[in-house]
Symmetry: C2
Subunit: 497 residues, 2 copies
């Protein structure tokens, strides 16, 4: 059981995701469909609930608690306390997902408290990065019972001592097992679970899912039996997953058959007593849903190079600087090259144009800025995955390539694209809400590799340029971001121009 995952992070349709993880021994995931909810609201969550039906694993849903995450960008939907209450009444919905707005909780913001109240006695996941002392107490007093953002051992110890059920995260972008494994002893380990939070399709295929997490936990010194409990019983009990997490009378026969608890070499998976997968292959093919309601989400009309024109002004302009290997950015400044009175991307100084175009309302509000750190010498990339509102974002050397890449993303109903020399070099369609693909996992991985190669071939010197691009619009992580509403100074939570 994955205690906390954003399935969207795999870019796989939830049913295709299931087809990949079930042969690796996964019996259930507790998903926070935060991304699709920011695009489609309740409709997106309904899609997950519908996709969950008839799967050879359980796809439990936590209701996203922070949709929209801020008012500094235009999201596709809003989930208020009424929607929270309504969703919590649905089959397969097990709680309120990570309450990311911890300042709102601590400051007792009425809308935040209303959602917590709407959760009633259901579990509420926490999200308390670095929160300590009295601020942590205040946050917990409001009812959150877990945290998966813990990275340090002292922080983890403090959180366990305050009653938090600790979700030890080992995902694609954040890996905390090495730091937190020493905390798992005979008293604490029943109060700890394993979670991925996010997991790329590439990592799923290469490393695995919870099988990988358990192997990692054992490698970090956690006894196999405790590691298994952290990925099964502990999670099922905390989230009150009826009939899950144990092999005993009265429990459902969700079984992973392994050769060794240390190797987690899953040979067969059973779901509710039926063979679900054997020797790495799913027992029965999983059809994905047609679901037209979640597909046409790129509500953008004409895109042309004229919209990217920026009249030059005197002096330096703000530049978002990428910090390699982290999702924080630095607020710097610079002076892009000027041509015919307009600012242009300047690959010599590694200053690229950045654009965010709103894609939910049809009004296509947009804003422009600059970014440093991609190292692109040519071409442009565009993406409909742009946390948290997932507007259309693009960065590039030439306006023409930016437009070409964005047009490709719109054409495919959402996705990732790289264009150079006026033509599309690679693209991955993400037709489901502009976040997930309907393609099989190996095809998604192949296209992701093509995209990475196209970027690299054009001079990009960072490893996951599309992942970095997807965070440049996220106005809750310091220091400087660009949303459809403008350039955001994160610390002051203000649009600065």
């Amino acid at each position: 059981i994955d205690a906390h995952i954003h399935v969207e992070s795999s870019m796989l349709d939830p049913r295709i995701f299931a087809g990949e993880v079930v042969p690796r021994g996964t019996g259930a995931v507790i998903a926070d469909p935060h991304e699709i909810a920011n695009v489609l609201g309740v409709e997106g969550i309904r899609y997950f609930l519908q996709a969950a039906k008839g799967l050879p694993m359980d796809l439990f849903i936590m209701v996203p608690s922070c949709v929209p995450a801020t008012s500094l960008e235009t999201s596709g939907a809003c989930i208020d306390e009424k929607a929270v209450a309504e969703l919590l009444g649905m089959d397969g919905v097990v709680g309120l997902a990570e309450m990311m707005n911890f300042p709102g909780v601590i400051g007792a913001a009425p809308d935040v408290l209303a959602k917590i109240q709407a959760a009633g006695t259901a579990r509420i996941d926490g999200h308390a990065p670095g929160l300590r002392g009295k601020a942590l107490n205040a946050y917990l007093a409001a009812g959150m019972s877990t945290d998966h953002e813990t990275i340090g051992i002292d922080e983890g110890r403090e959180k366990l001592a305050r009653g938090i059920h600790l979700l030890v995260r080992e995902g694609s972008s954040e890996r905390n097992l090495a730091a937190l494994a020493p905390l798992a002893n005979e008293y604490t380990s029943p109060r700890m679970s394993l979670a991925c939070d996010d997991r790329t399709a590439l990592d799923l295929l290469r490393q695995g899912h919870m099988d990988h997490s358990i192997r990692r936990a054992v490698a970090e010194g956690i006894p196999p039996i405790r590691a298994v409990a952290m990925a099964t019983l502990n999670t099922a009990e905390h989230y009150r997953l009826r009939g899950k997490g144990a092999v005993a009378p009265g429990f459902l026969a969700d079984l992973a058959c392994v050769g060794s608890l240390k190797q987690m070499d899953v040979r067969m998976t059973f779901h509710r007593g039926r063979l679900a997968a054997k020797d790495g292959r799913i027992a029965e093919p999983i059809e994905i849903l047609e679901a037209p309601a979640v597909r046409k989400t790129m509500r953008i009309g004409r895109l042309d190079a004229g919209m990217l024109k920026m009249k030059a002004c005197s002096g330096d302009v703000p530049v978002i600087e990428i910090v390699p290997g982290q999702i924080v950015t630095r607020a710097t400044s610079g002076r892009p090259v000027i041509s015919a009175g307009f600012f242009e991307s300047d690959p010599g100084k590694d200053i690229l144009k950045l654009v965010v175009v709103e894609r939910h309302t049809g009004r296509a509000g947009m804003s422009l800025g600059f970014v440093r750190g991609f190292g692109l010498r040519m071409g442009a990339m565009a993406s409909s995955v742009a946390h948290d509102s997932h507007n259309l974002i693009a960065a590039g050397v030439s306006d023409q390539d930016m437009i070409a890449a964005m047009r490709e993303v719109v054409r495919t109903g959402g996705g990732l694209a790289f264009a150079a020399g006026g033509r599309v070099a690679a693209s991955l369609p993400l037709e489901i809400a502009g976040l997930m693909s309907r393609l099989p996992a190996p095809a998604v991985c192949a296209k992701l590799e093509e995209l990475a190669k196209a970027a690299s071939d054009n001079g990009c010197r960072i490893e996951s340029p599309f992942a970095v691009l997807s965070f440049l619009a996220l106005p809750v992580i310091p220091e400087l971001r660009l949303t459809d509403k403008g350039l955001v100074d994160v610390m002051s939570q203000k649009i600065i121009g």
Copy 2:
């Protein structure tokens, strides 16, 4: 937290009970009001819920699952699946109480399954004395999650291995800590709790409540921190008692302040952050409720010696034989003395008349039998506590004394009485449903001691004659019982005459 108790076993009003246990550090009990429910049904449970209000401890209720327990006696009420569902919706009701009818569960009796279904996702307590192997599996598969009837270590190990949350019972009549303490290790102890099941007022005053259970657990080798968890956190988590069981942010400040975890010398008790008791005294007096609805429950008209006449027949008659120290009885036979063509009690052979008079419907149906083992030389005793239907039961040497004792019980609105030489020697009024007294605990204890002394002065040679008497009508424990409907052969579950 007492994980399972029949408060009625203390013969104290629930609010008086609270006044006794709170100074001993009890913050909550999970009560199964099985006894009052057999007399008053939903009305009796409402009384408990009402009594719970404003107490300096929590009185959580499990809905009695077996009312009536059998059709071999006349109970005062019936709680069917509809009532179960209705009660489970009420504040303070946390689950379905011990499912005593395990043959009904295993045999899939429709009325039993209907109640289980009505419980939905609420916790259901088990009651599985000696149940092992496939029978145990079948029982658990129906949804029971605990057991407090385990007496042997192998039985306990098997139950833990099958996922049961084990309630280790240390009560007044059954004491299982010595046998089960060795089972509590680093893996199992989070899946174990302490419970009293029953606790007499005398034991409460002399030994204590959960403070005593924790002392006993520690004396049996369980580390104090685990013993405390077994009486707090483990129980709160299993029964999903929100905000209970831990000292941490987000939890209610229910605290017992002790000098030593081993001694459990409770000096102060706090409930929801307020001082509830200090130095053995409750902080604010607890008023008991008037509650006329639960008082007039002895619906019996005239009682006279003529009703005890038994026309003699030839040959031996069945005699219920008490087994000292156990609640099983033996089916024996004997020949009582005959006077003027009627059977009479025969103290020489220790054969006493036994009578059960139905007290719920007003029809006062009754039956007569014989019992061996009390050793009474004179007098008679009567009680309105007679498991499970709590009809009026009496045993004695002379018909006049039996009538005198029974009249006293009816006069006091229910209770216990001993009469000798035509007058009442001692009595304890149990006005609440004929089960619990409105007197303070020390007064109840004093009267219980007077009753025991009266019995002993009149030749009784068993230690708790009223407790033994209260079980002589219980038609679910072998071998021979007397109910208002007649003499019951327990193994065949038939009325034999």
